[in-house]
């Protein structure tokens, strides 16, 4: 699969929230686009990733 433009080998089927943690992200602090569609926060734990998926992860830091 592709994550932020880079190839990532997906060894097993994994849930989006778990994948984000594995990649070092806090799921609460990111926005995720999967195959061109932004994923609702509430759907992270019901979204299953497969090797053909293309995802973009945007991380936010605080301050405003």
């Amino acid at each position: 699969m592709k994550v932020n433009g880079a190839e990532v080998i997906l060894r097993e089927v994994v849930r989006l929230d778990m994948f984000l943690v594995e990649q070092g992200y806090n799921p609460a602090y990111v926005a995720v686009e999967m195959n061109g569609e932004v994923v609702l926060k509430s759907a992270y734990d019901q979204t299953i990733l497969s090797d053909s998926d293309v995802i973009e992860v945007v991380r936010f830091v605080g301050g405003g």
């Binding site: 686009e33 509430s42 605080g62």
Partner: protein, 228 residues
């Protein structure tokens, strides 16, 4: 000219003609027809709103639940006399004084998952200017997923007085632009473990630079340009 208008100001028609004459072909008409929302009226949002009002965006929708505090005055666009007032009301008054041609609507509510689609539906561009890391990510996700035509111009990283040149605008998703250095962490909603000192405090110029990036990207989108 100064004497002629002293204390009165130009008539609306004249003000509009002055603005229209300063921009290129048709741009003023596009700005005048535009609807822009600003979510969060702190260091980013207050300056974004002022910039967009000056440039002549026709409709501004300002959302913040908070009141002006003394600790806001070092980096937000408010005055000493605004302390204790709702930010929405203080900013509405300021915009009226800057450009009375702008229509301003306000909501003094906290932006939460359940009210995002209702609040920002009907807007062309949403400027994300919240403070809290989780709230930022939540607003961006919910708005982009729930409002397909909306463009979101968000911010990430603008604390301190590090180099101004590290703040930039990037198109990160189809309808998402992110301005900032992507690193710093400031504001009262700070959740990272690093202390304020490591990020060199909360300063006006860098937050204004980031707000300027957001306002300029908004302007570009309204003028029909999608490139960051």
């Amino acid at each position: 000219m100064g004497v002629e208008y002293e204390g009165v100001g130009p008539a609306h028609g004249e003000l509009e003609a002055v603005l229209a004459a300063r921009y290129g072909a048709g741009v003023y008409d596009k700005l005048k027809a535009a609807r822009v929302a600003v979510a969060g009226l702190g260091g980013l949002g207050s300056h974004i709103a002022v910039a967009l009002a000056r440039v002549g965006v026709g409709f501004l929708f300002l959302v913040d639940f908070d009141v002006v505090e003394p600790s806001n005055l070092n980096r937000q666009s408010y005055f000493v006399g605004d302390v204790g007032r709702l930010k929405t009301e203080a900013l509405r008054e300021q915009i009226e004084a800057i450009n009375p041609l702008v229509e301003v609507a306000v909501r003094a509510v906290r932006v939460e998952e359940h009210n995002i689609v209702e609040l920002f539906g009907g807007c062309d561009v949403l400027c994300e200017a919240l403070d809290d890391q989780e709230a930022k990510a939540g607003l961006v996700s919910t708005a982009l997923a729930g409002l397909p035509g909306l463009k979101v111009v968000a911010a990430s990283g603008m604390a301190g007085y590090g180099s101004a040149n590290s703040i930039r605008t990037q198109r990160r998703l189809k309808n998402l632009y992110v301005c900032g250095d992507g690193e710093g962490c400031g504001g009262s909603g700070m959740k990272d473990t690093k202390s304020v000192g490591e990020y060199m405090g909360f300063m006006a110029p860098r937050v204004q630079i980031c707000a300027g990036h957001q306002a300029n990207m908004t302007l570009r989108l309204l003028a029909g340009l999608e490139e960051a």
